[in-house]
């Protein structure tokens, strides 16, 4: 299997969507960490679990995912957003360069991102983590 033993944190508060993620990741050989359906649980996993990547819903039980994203960035864990809100301006600031996949999940797209993350670690991690505060566009308004 392509990604045997890769540990992927899934943060998703919609039970059925989380199920879709599991159904997609497990056959690839990935080990799903979570899925976390609340911010505190997600934060705990993001800080303590060994992780190779993460897929994050942006709005988790009414709260924004940013604390989890910051925790992952500190640990240099690459991640992508999965959200129905990609087109909103919320994806600005420090995570503007982080890929955001639209809901419903387009599996081939996520697969491409996982390949980008894991197949060429240097380049991909640079790409995924390029949104350092200095290079990020200043928040509008």
């Amino acid at each position: 299997m392509a990604f045997e033993g890769r540990r992927v944190l899934v943060v998703e508060d919609e039970f059925l969507v989380a199920l879709t993620m599991i159904d997609f990741l497990e056959p690839l050989g990935c080990e799903v960490v979570g899925p976390a359906a609340s911010l505190p649980v997600a934060l705990e996993l993001a800080r303590s679990e060994p992780l190779d990547a993460a897929v994050l819903d942006m709005n988790i039980a009414g709260a924004m995912i940013w604390p989890v994203a910051r925790a992952l960035r500190r640990r240099r864990v690459p991640f992508v957003f999965l959200s129905a809100y990609c087109d909103l301006e919320v994806v600005s600031g420090p995570f503007a360069a982080t890929p955001c996949l639209e809901k419903p999940l387009e599996q081939s797209r996520l697969l491409r991102h996982l390949h980008a993350i894991w197949d060429a670690p240097q380049r991909s991690s640079a790409r995924l983590q390029s949104a350092t505060p200095s290079s990020a566009p200043s928040p509008r308004r």
């Binding site: 919609e14 059925l16 199920l19 709260a63 087109d87 419903p104």
Partner: protein, 397 residues
């Protein structure tokens, strides 16, 4: 004789002169009279003009004060000369007039629509007075009042010029479009929210489809199950529409799901509104239970019945929602060996969304399924739409 003749001659000329003088005097009196008349006319005329002017001035003053549009004017150096009541209302203050007053505008702060500050020397009035721009037409500007509140205004400015074309001042008219802007913003937001909810719903359909069409049953059967599950999802949406999108009533979801066998169910419970997420899961729960009942349980035999009851126990933050599905009169109960997607919905989805592990009891009389969950978690969020946009906390969505 010559003396007498000379004298006579003199008398004659004097007489002539006298006559001439008299004539002249007459003429002069006439002139004076006509001048007087003209003067009087002029005075009357001027008075009339003055009255007319005052009336006109009065009219414009009333228009100035009464009109719904805010107006103010500046002299050439930009000192505020006059402003009307509406201008002061929109500025949230009354500027000091004349020499000691502020220049160009009565607002404390001005911003472009994108939020960047407009320094006073770069405001529209300043640019018109300096001749940098010939006029300003329908420019959107944001005014900040002393209390920090903001209004969006549309500004038009025209210069005043003397006969030589020198700019002697300018007039600025503006009006409030804050309400329109808010309505536009609200509409945009609602359309976005609609699109997002649609996408979320499709993500749920995607999950249900992929789990239902797992290939463990004949395709025709799986197709039928999928169609039924999508209908259950549609029922939750219908119940939400009936609930004004704020929430869905438990009774409404039960009614929609049990319509086809309503003569065999007893339904009772108080009014409880479920939030969007929970309503969706609850619709799946009632659907899966009734499907199972129709296949293997009480609804698979004519004598079978189902009692659906719910209640609220306690009050305030500790109040609990208790739901029970109780079958009786069905065939002997055999606990299922297979743990399919339906079971996953009835157990794991409920545990996550209701915040309480449901109980299955396979009693000899029939299946009993119970949910015992904190009411607060299921209840309708207070305008969750607004809070979601602000990224704020929404109770249990």
């Amino acid at each position: 004789m010559p003396e007498a003749a000379r004298l006579q001659e003199k008398m004659r000329t004097m007489n002539e002169a006298l006559v001439l003088g008299l004539v002249r005097q007459h003429e002069l009196t006439d002139i004076a009279d006509s001048l007087n008349v003209r003067l009087q006319n002029e005075v009357v005329e001027r008075k009339e003009i003055e009255t007319a002017l005052r009336a006109s001035e009065e009219r414009y003053r009333t228009l100035f004060e009464l009109g719904p549009v805010a107006v103010y004017s500046c002299d050439a150096p930009g000192r505020i000369v006059s402003f009307n009541r509406r201008a002061a209302e929109l500025w949230g203050r009354e500027p000091v007039l004349g020499e000691q007053g502020e220049r160009f505008c009565g607002a404390v702060k001005l911003f472009h629509p994108d939020g960047t500050l407009i320094p006073p020397e770069l405001c529209g009035m300043s640019e018109v007075l300096s001749g940098k721009v010939p006029a300003v037409h329908d420019m959107e500007v944001v005014v900040e009042r002393p209390d920090g509140s903001r209004v969006v205004i549309v500004v038009s400015i025209l210069p005043l010029k003397d006969e030589c074309g020198i700019i002697t001042g300018a007039v600025d008219c503006f009006y409030d479009i804050t309400e329109r802007k808010d309505a536009e913003e609200r509409q945009r937001f609602l359309l976005n929210e609609l699109a997002h909810r649609g996408k979320n719903l499709l993500a749920v359909v995607q999950a249900v489809a992929s789990r239902t069409l797992s290939g463990t049953r004949p395709l025709a059967e799986e197709r039928d199950i999928l169609s039924q599950r999508i209908l259950a999802l549609a029922h939750s949406q219908t119940a939400l529409v009936i609930g004004g999108f704020e929430g869905a009533a438990v009774a409404e979801i039960v009614r929609l799901e049990c319509e086809s066998f309503s003569d065999r169910v007893e339904v009772s419970g108080p009014e409880v509104m479920l939030n969007r997420r929970v309503a969706q899961t609850f619709a799946f729960v009632v659907h899966e239970l009734s499907t199972n009942a129709a296949k293997y349980g009480a609804l698979s035999v004519p004598a079978g019945r189902v009692a659906i009851t719910w209640a609220i126990d306690g009050a305030g933050a500790s109040a609990r929602f208790r739901f029970q599905w109780r079958e009786r009169g069905g065939p002997p109960v055999v606990p299922p060996t297979r743990r399919g997607f339906g079971r996953l919905l009835l157990e794991s989805a409920v545990a996550q969304d209701f915040g309480g592990l449901p109980a299955f009891r396979f009693e000899p009389s029939g299946l009993i399924y119970e949910i015992d969950a904190p009411l607060q978690r299921l209840a309708v969020e207070i305008d969750g739409v607004k809070e979601r946009s602000a990224g704020g906390d929404v109770a249990a969505t």
